[in-house]
């Protein structure tokens, strides 16, 4: 593979990652509107599959020597009814299918072709699933109630929750980037685990926005990209500390709002952010102390065979 081909493949993968990222956010937003019934569950399942696609695509980018791609393609929330959202998802799947077909034709890398074909099969299935959900959502809408219009007090709570959604969204991207960019297995595992928990926080908060008559935020806060593990972990410690303080202030302001379920949720998330901060503090200490303290010294390498034995091998091999 020439350097030119490698760069072209990285650019191709980055474009696809942006599409997968858009699909994740669009489908998760639709999932919040659809609630936790059959439609919501199916949409969430598809969104999870797109998360896996996004991860695989970024792993290929790293293997080719590129930086993990955090950009996102355009999304279409559509609405206000769930049926039109599902229709927008059908269209997004069709767009993704075209992208994968073009990518398969463009790349000469057999591993990428295989990966793209794998994803294309998924997207074809998703397109059919969404088409069925359009019909199901229309049937449900016929007997559904009118959407809730938020009061002034609820609008304040929606804004508060959405600030958390945007913050968690940024944390997800930041930690996923770190888990792929680092060469330290411990840091990679820890940031991936925390990213998964932040993703749950994002969904839990957005889930509270829709019943109040709000629209979940779909843009992340600032994603901070550092170039080494020590810098990344310092940033993470500060971010987790700030997040814990933010949730505590929100819990305090909710004390008189009569929303104990939201207050309880924020308390749970605050405690988990504390755990994240402590995790990152431990890793930071480890990184600052020098990995050599805990890593066993490399064993002296003895002489090694290169050609070795050919005993019994036929001459045509």
């Amino acid at each position: 593979m020439t350097d030119q081909e490698r760069q072209a493949d990285i650019a191709l993968l980055a474009g696809i990652a942006a599409g997968e990222h858009a699909a994740i956010i669009q489908y998760m937003t639709h999932r919040f509107y659809a609630g936790e019934g059959d439609i919501g569950c199916e949409v969430e399942e598809i969104a999870r599959r797109e998360m896996l696609h996004w991860k695989w695509i970024n792993e290929h980018i790293r293997e080719l020597g590129g930086e993990p791609a955090l950009e996102r393609g355009p999304i279409n929330i559509a609405g206000p009814d769930v049926a039109s959202m599902m229709q927008a998802d059908v269209e997004l799947e069709e767009h993704c299918m075209r992208e994968y077909e073009q990518a398969i034709a463009k790349t000469s890398n057999p591993a990428l072709k295989r990966q793209f074909e794998h994803h294309l099969r998924d997207e074809r299935g998703h397109r059919e699933d969404f088409a069925k959900l359009v019909i199901e959502a229309r049937e449900q809408a016929a007997s559904g109630a009118e959407p809730h219009v938020p009061t002034e007090e609820e609008q304040a709570i929606i804004a508060m929750l959405n600030s958390g959604v945007a913050q968690e969204y940024a944390a997800v991207l930041q930690y996923l980037h770190q888990s792929m960019a680092t060469d330290d297995l411990k840091v990679s595992r820890a940031t991936l685990n925390v990213a998964i928990e932040e993703m749950k926080h994002m969904a839990q908060l957005a889930d509270e926005v829709v019943p109040l008559g709000g629209t979940p935020a779909v843009e992340p806060d600032v994603v901070k990209i550092d170039t080494d593990d020590a810098g990344r972990l310092k940033t993470n410690v500060a971010d987790e500390d700030a997040a814990g303080q933010l949730y505590q202030s929100q819990i305090d302001s909710l004390a008189t709002a009569g929303k104990p379920e939201i207050s309880d949720l924020l308390a749970l998330i605050r405690d988990q952010e504390t755990f994240h901060r402590e995790t990152f503090e431990d890793l930071l200490r480890h990184a600052q102390a020098g990995a050599e303290d805990s890593t066993p010294p490399p064993k002296p390498q003895g002489p090694m065979l290169t050609v070795g034995s050919l005993l019994g091998q036929p001459q045509d091999q």
């Binding site: 002489p303 065979l305 290169t306 019994g312 091999q317």
Partner: protein, 283 residues
């Protein structure tokens, strides 16, 4: 990578070294013949200069008795000598402009000089294994004293090669040297095995492989009309490897880069009777 190969101080990148290593090892593996019939002892390290070679008596018998009191029931060497680990090497040059061109326009590095040096080093290793080296006082499989001999005269007659190979196996077997056997033939003798055997529909070489069990090989290193039949096993002979085939950076001269394919090896023949030499002259 070992310091003495001087790779870290060389101007070649890790990827370029990887390409050279791949070319050298693949070329050597393709061309080496002796290693197809020898067990490897080692690697012992590049600094080691000699290795012991123990000579054992021809195969005897294990004891069977009621109380384990049989005398003289020990396998032990009758003679110990020290064989030098000879250095086999071949140098090659990478022109600085070829290297620069490969880097500038992202062309694969042309590893033909490395592969050629590896093939020649492989040939030198086989020469050492089969013929030894007079200057170093080392015998090879084809000229070690104590091997059995068969004179051949009519190898060209259909069926004769199999008769000779069968006779060699019979001689070895009668002396207690057992399966698996392997035959190594000069190019001319090997070619004559690629004929249909008498009135059958199969080639002579197919029958020869069946008889040997350990393979039939062709070596351009053997003299014309020469063949060996060996009873295989590390109890009979092996190849001691100090430094296995590798590539070192030598120097830069007139901007060009000089490298060396090298290894250190010693053939250890422990029971010469496990070798049967076939040739026009049975001396």
């Amino acid at each position: 990578m070992a310091d003495f190969l001087m790779r870290e101080g060389s101007p070649l990148t890790e990827a370029e070294w990887a390409k050279i290593d791949e070319a050298v090892v693949n070329a050597a593996r393709h061309h080496l013949v002796g290693r197809r019939v020898l067990h490897i002892y080692g690697p012992l390290g590049p600094g080691l200069e000699v290795v012991h070679t123990d000579v054992y008596a021809p195969p005897g018998k294990g004891a069977v008795d009621p109380d384990g009191e049989t005398e003289d029931n020990v396998v032990e060497f009758s003679e110990r000598s020290y064989t030098p680990l000879a250095m086999v090497h071949k140098d090659f040059r990478i022109a600085w402009r070829d290297l620069e061109m490969s880097r500038q326009i992202d062309l694969p590095l042309d590893t033909a000089p490395a592969a050629t040096a590896a093939v020649l080093a492989a040939r030198a290793e086989d020469d050492l294994i089969f013929h030894g080296n007079k200057e170093l006082g080392i015998s090879g499989l084809a000229n070690v004293p104590g091997s059995c001999k068969i004179a051949i005269s009519n190898w060209g007659t259909s069926g004769a090669p199999l008769d000779y190979l069968t006779a060699a196996v019979g001689k070895l077997s009668a002396s207690g040297f057992t399966q698996p056997y392997a035959a190594i033939l000069s190019s001319s003798l090997h070619t004559m095995l690629l004929r249909v055997y008498k009135d059958t529909d199969s080639l002579e070489i197919a029958h020869a492989k069946e008889i040997m069990g350990g393979g039939v090989f062709e070596s351009p290193v053997l003299s014309d009309g020469q063949a060996l039949v060996l009873s295989l096993g590390p109890q009979n002979f092996d190849l001691a490897v100090g430094q296995d085939l590798n590539t070192a950076y030598l120097e830069s001269k007139n901007l060009n880069h000089y490298l060396r394919v090298l290894e250190t090896v010693a053939l250890r023949i422990k029971r010469p009777g496990a070798i049967c030499v076939l040739g026009k002259s049975a001396k």
